[in-house]
């Protein structure tokens, strides 16, 4: 089974990376770009089925290791 995890900087937290990329895109002429936020995308292969126990474990992993809850939010999806 595969879990897809998305980690993004919290809204109120500065995202210097996203800012720098947005500026770069502007100076390359992509004027339509308004804002860029940069986070992480992780794929975790794991044994087990999509059930409440696995969901709970994943949530715990995200909270403890895969994200930094002080400055990041996360969400995940489980896939066949």
């Amino acid at each position: 089974m595969k879990a897809k995890i998305y980690v993004t900087p919290k809204k109120a937290v500065l995202d210097p990376q996203g800012k720098a990329v947005a500026n770069a895109l502007h100076s390359l002429g992509y004027a339509a770009v308004k804002e860029v936020r940069i986070g992480k995308y992780m794929e975790v292969e794991l044994d087990g089925a999509d059930n409440a126990a696995v969901q709970k474990q994943l949530d715990e992993m995200c909270h403890r290791i895969l994200s930094n809850p002080v400055i990041e939010d996360y969400r995940f999806e489980l896939e066949g």
């Binding site: 109120a12 937290v13 500065l14 995202d15 210097p16 720098a20 930094n68 002080v70 400055i71």
Partner: protein
Amino acid sequence: MNDPKITPEIIADHGITPEEFERIKGVLGREPNFTELGIFSVMWSEHCSYKNSKPVLKTFPTKGPQILVGAGEENAGVTDIGDGWAISFKIESHNHPSAVEPFQGAATGVGGILRDIFTMGARPILNMNSLRFGPIDGNDEAARRNKRLFAGVVGGIAYYGNCVGVPTVGGEVYFDESYEGNPLLNAMCLGLLRHEQIARGAAKGTGNPVFYVGPATGRDGLAGAAFASRELTEESQEDRPAVQVGDPFMEKLVLEAVLELLQTDAVVGIQDMGAAGLTCSTCETASRAGTGIEIDLAKVPQREPGMTPYEIMLSESQERMLVIVQKGREAEVQRIFDKWDLPWAEIGFVTDTGLMRVKNHGKVVAEIPAAKLANDAPVYYRESKEPAYFAKTRAWKLSELPPLTDPQKVLPELLASSSIASKNWVYRQYDHMVQTRTVVYPGSDAAVVRLKLAPPPAKDRYLAITTDCNGGYCFLDPYTGGAIAVAEAARNIVCSGGRPIASTDNLNFGNPMKPEIFFQVREAAKGITDGCNTFNTPITGGNVSFYNQSPTGAIDPTPVMGMVGLIDDIAHVTTQWFKERGDVILLAGNAVDTADPYLGLGGSQYAQCLHHIKAGLPPRLDLAVEKKLQDAVLALIRAGQIKSAHDCSEGGLAVALAEGCISKHPGRNTAELIGAKVNLSTFAKGTRLDALLFGEAQSRIVLSVAKENADAVVAQLQSQGVPAAVIGTVGGKTLTIKAGKVAGKWNVADLYDGWWNSIARKMA
């Protein structure tokens, strides 16, 4: 927008006592509104006002012919180094943010101290850091947490300093249970400038425009100063938004722009927005100049819509500066901001009202006498009481330590203990070479950097820098611990060939409202004062961090000293490792404390690591003896007589000797090892072996000299009243120490491996 009504609860939430609230009303002649209350709460917090530490700081020696800008006058002091050149340096803590978010907390700590230095007009040329964590041995829950904090803090320092391009050339790390849950991060920065370049943080000249430069203001780091002035509790988790994210790239641009700006004379005053952000920078610049300042918050760049005046005034978003410009010179200044692609805004002007007037879209939202806000925080003479734990630590007798039976085993154990082991796991993550100034890399007693004042091969000048503090000594006796911190710093500089010239301090303590803690503060400060007077190293500035408490108690008192010395000639630069086979090893100073040989074991790493005892009295320090030793050794170094010098500190004589054999490290995975044969038998009579080998008696330096100079050096030391003796020779592949019978014979390659790789192994 409706501000909350001012209730007793809201006042208390801001950490303001009822008496302080009355004082605020006195300053204003009326009740404050919500924004004003917030402004007072940050400016009158311990972090900004030093209200609980001022009486103590007043006792420090801060004057000297070398001091160009004294402690407390500006963002950082400035010290003369001759020929029209000066240095500006300061140390600052970011302990609480690092406890909550180690990486960003440490990163923004580095960012903050860098700004203090370049605000003075100085180009930052080096960083240092002094760190404390709980133990990292084993793999239980607590150890794992300590490792995470350690890795995060080191990573954050590296991330920020490396990116800005300021080398982190040294520092120290200790591990002790008292720092569990409350790690310490003290960051120091030093910059170089010409006398005529000193910039001031004063809002002079009525009508002069006030510029804001740097990234937009966000809600992050709201009221960090107030946060730093409270104890860490479970609820601190809820303070999490108080953590700020650093942008070292932005800092680098601001740094370059500010230094370029200060080359013009268009700037009349400048200050960074550190703790208490816009609030602190506006009222302090006005107060220093005796003027007033008026700003309109609508003009302040904002990252999020709907920010209130309270939020904008208290935000601690990073990398922002306030610049007061000569009227008519605006275009020049704007051109430089634009060159560096920096966001900027003209947000107000200097007035002659003495008021800090804050408007929002033209409507006054706060109006406070600037000087009173900046300077009239209450000052508390806290009560002090000898700590009750003294009764217990002092009742314990060092003779209760079981006799040392297996020195062969103990030395490698000590070398691998976290506080003594090589810190290369740390400093290899720091760019310690950028700017091509670093002449002695981390790994010797002090770092040495060249100033690059003149193009080669003309004569250059060098600085030696170190930070030092042994919290365990301070716990057992804060006065002695404070004095030793100064003496050790000076000793490290002298061993590197430098003449100490000035210092900075960071007082890290628990809650000063507790009389027993305040006792520690007061006594440690006395020790620092006596030390600085002895070595002629006035304090040029520093920082106080209180409330370093976790639910299990206060940290060991940790008054970290940062010290700088001058070296006139590269030939005097000296390192701690032995150089050549056949060189003679000398000990300058007494092998053990002559009054009581056991003194030296109290608070020692030997007692702590091998017997888990932190009791007794710390090593004694006689400042006059120490001064004589340092003067004599420095004179010998300058006379070209000394090949290596290394002071005895944690782990005592045996560890200092071992480090002489194993600490030269020319390149990756490659050490240049050399053995030594040492005979301490003359000192062994009537003395316990543990005190002789591992005791931490003060005022001792291990020297190595060319064979033909040995007798002359011993005679020279003795003629200066410094005890000295030949104790061995350099060479071979083993370190052998005899004390009566053979105490141990170690393969230096094994000692090296255990010492060099210890921390990496624990962190793996």
